[in-house]
């Protein structure tokens, strides 16, 4: 039998679900690096629960929770440099916070205000992307720009298990391979695409192997193990930076919340499964390990979570105090050089708005 090609996909895990090391820490990674990231995971979770509460009280539109994804999201963000570019879907706040996006911007976005995507920092990252996986191709395009201009930057993107079925993901992977781009495709496998389970998306054994179709480096990672996330990302970022091309990493995690606040997951998934997933929660796992290293205790956690709450509340207040944009905002960012007919529509919209708001407005 002649073999034309063969492939292996490695699986990375450092801490098991009880927080016990299953192998030595990756070189260069120590507890000191991990502690601030763990704290960041707690911040993200605090933000998330407050955002859900905001939505439940009618102060936010539909919101996509990131509960359970904290290790994957924070680990991805932590592995990038400011000059890299990140093209998210709509859920990776943890990664975005690491890059400078502010919680108030997330809230603005889900609060129905385009200014949420006008990140103060980083100016060059892509905005949230609702059409599934289209962001992956934009990241590939960015990576192509970096390569053509000789810039030492990497484009990192994320999509879900559902998104891995989307043709855009394949297109991104294939072009990254064809042009040997500095590109990292994160596939965040949280088990569900709204109501559709991972197994209904594809007959592929892993989602990491999607990368084989484009000749990329493929890796599967325990996405609830921050250490594995960081090590997986390090390998991919190193490859990208050294001109060795793109990677696909599948992060195995779980969506502990409903798909969004508009969804009710009880309609389609069983309690047992969710219970089992909580046992894999990335936060206690790392907490156990950090505790074992004497780097973290309950008192510290209590104080830190209070601090997170205060900071999130400030962000929420900034969001709640924001005034809606004036009606002309819907015309003002459409063209750099707006055509006359559009300016006429703008004037008429302003006039109508004034009239509707009464004589004093």
């Amino acid at each position: 039998m002649t073999i034309a090609a063969s492939f292996e996909i490695e699986y990375l895990q450092y801490l098991d679900q009880e927080g016990r090391p299953v192998q030595a820490l990756p070189e260069g990674l120590d507890a000191k690096t991990l502690l601030p990231l763990f704290k960041q995971m707690l911040f993200v979770r605090t933000f998330d629960s407050k955002a859900i509460a905001l939505q439940r009280t009618g102060k936010l539109g539909t919101y996509a929770s990131c509960l359970g994804h904290e290790a994957t999201h924070v680990g991805i963000g932590a592995s990038t440099r400011p000059e890299d570019v990140f093209a998210p879907s709509y859920r990776e706040y943890g990664a975005q916070f690491m890059r400078g996006v502010r919680p108030r911007e997330v809230l603005m976005y889900w609060g129905g205000d385009e200014r949420g995507s006008d990140f103060a920092v980083p100016r060059h990252d892509f905005p949230w992307c609702v059409p599934i996986a289209t962001q992956c191709l934009h990241a590939a395009g960015a990576a192509l720009a970096f390569k053509l201009r000789g810039e030492p930057r990497v484009a990192v993107t994320a999509c879900g298990d559902g998104g891995s079925s989307k043709t855009d993901t394949y297109a991104a992977i294939n072009s990254a391979g064809a042009y040997t781009l500095p590109f990292v495709q994160c596939i965040i496998n949280n088990g569900w695409a709204i109501s559709v389970p991972r197994k209904a998306q594809t007959g592929a054994k892993t989602l990491a192997q999607k990368g084989i179709a484009g000749g990329l480096h493929c890796l599967q990672v325990d996405g609830n193990d921050l250490i594995a996330v960081l090590e997986g990302m390090r390998r991919a970022m190193d490859r990208a930076r050294s001109g060795h091309g793109g990677s696909v990493i599948e992060f195995m995690t779980y969506r502990l919340h409903d798909h969004t606040t508009a969804d009710d997951a009880r309609r389609y998934r069983g309690e047992e499964e969710v219970k089992a997933a909580w046992a894999r929660d990335p936060i206690p796992r790392l907490r156990t390990w950090l505790g074992g290293q004497k780097l973290w205790d309950d008192a510290q956690e209590k104080a830190w979570i209070e601090d997170c709450g205060r900071r999130v509340d400030e962000e929420i207040n900034a969001y709640l105090e924001s005034k809606a944009q004036p009606v002309e905002a819907m015309f003002d960012y459409l063209y750099g050089d707006p055509p006359p007919d559009l300016l006429a529509q703008r004037a008429s919209a302003i006039a109508l708005d004034r009239a509707a708001r009464g004589p004093r407005a």
Partner: protein, 342 residues
């Protein structure tokens, strides 16, 4: 009362029928046709156990099984392409695009294949499929969940484009769409999915796929609209009546092929026409109606045609979206301009 007349009324139905919403009428039509015709299958994202994000397919998988109600992988190209292939092999697939903003990846298969399989093969293969698309703004949804992109498909030969605006019309037109031998793009005005209930007997009677509905008789001005704007347009007619202006209201219902005769007849009586739709103005489907008037009703018009539409910008996120959409005020103002002009 014939079927078409019945569809314009909200009363007078047999008492055995239940009063249902527009979305329930969709579900009822799907269930009816699936019972009747084994070749009808439903496919899309989350249409199975979950019954669709809007619950349009709620309960169908439980009744008809996973061979008749299929969750697809998350890819609209896949949904469109599989649908064409299944239809070519004699099935009658009813595909769902989860939201209007996600139909774009389907356009290639719809335009290059669904719309021309019969043409290309001289009738050897056909493509009897329906694409259901929840449509339009005003529900405080996230980005890409509020588009009104119906005009894209109206320039494509070989398609039918339908957009019902009442439970009864949704039921009758969806049945007709599924039974039609050619591809039908079936838009559903999601803002009025649950606006009101209407008695819709589950009698399996389809409505014609090429008829505009006169929802209100009037003599001074014709208001032509479709989809969720039927609500604001009827309200505008009411408001105009208070000012002594008699407005006729037409629900286009099927955009392609257009029943222009009904519109022309009305305009021959009123001499004035206001076209209302939520898609951007430029090259929205309102343009085609105005163009037909300019070609065929020139001598009837006593005032310039008016269009009350979305602006030529993207529908904003929800903090501003209501300022983007046509409103009762905007429609009334346009009708009054028409009255003043001629």
């Amino acid at each position: 009362m014939n079927k078409q007349a019945a569809a314009t009324k909200t009363a007078g139905q047999p008492v055995t029928a239940a009063a249902i919403t527009l979305i329930e009428a969709i579900t009822q039509a799907l269930a009816y046709e699936m019972r009747k015709d084994a070749s009808v299958v439903v496919l899309g994202e989350d249409v199975g156990v979950n019954g669709g994000v809007f619950r349009a397919t709620a309960g169908l998988q439980q009744v008809f099984g996973p061979e008749r109600v299929l969750d697809t992988p998350l890819d609209e190209t896949t949904i469109a392409g599989l649908t064409v292939g299944m239809a070519a092999m004699g099935m009658r697939p009813v595909a769902e695009a989860q939201f209007d903003g996600f139909v774009y990846p389907m356009i290639d298969h719809i335009v290059c294949h669904a719309a021309r399989l019969r043409y290309r093969t001289r009738g050897r293969l056909t493509c009897p499929m329906v694409l259901r698309v929840p449509w339009g703004g005003g529900i405080r949804a996230p980005e890409h969940h509020s588009e009104a992109n119906e005009s894209i498909f109206t320039n494509v030969p070989g398609l039918r484009v339908v957009l019902p605006s009442s439970p009864a019309r949704a039921y009758g037109l969806l049945l007709a769409a599924i039974r039609d031998p050619d591809p039908v793009i079936f838009y559903e005005p999601k803002r009025i999915y649950r606006q009101y209930k209407e008695l819709v007997p589950d009698d399996g009677e389809a409505l014609p796929l090429d008829v505009c509905y006169v929802l209100r008789d009037g003599s001074d001005v014709t208001l032509v609209t479709w989809g969720a704007q039927v609500k604001e347009t009827l309200e505008a007619a009411e408001a105009l009546a208070k000012d002594g202006i008699s407005a006729e209201v037409i629900d286009v219902a099927t955009l392609k092929p257009l029943d222009f005769a009904t519109i022309a007849e009305s305009v021959s009586k009123t001499g004035r026409c206001v076209i209302v739709h939520e898609a951007p103005k430029t090259a929205g489907f309102g343009a085609e109606i105005a163009a037909r008037l300019a070609e065929e009703s020139m001598y009837d018009l006593v005032a310039p045609v008016e269009r009350v539409t979305g602006y030529d910008t993207h529908i904003p996120l929800f903090r501003l979206e209501m300022k983007y959409l046509p409103s009762v005020d905007k429609i009334v103002a346009a009708a009054k301009r028409a009255m003043a002009a001629g």
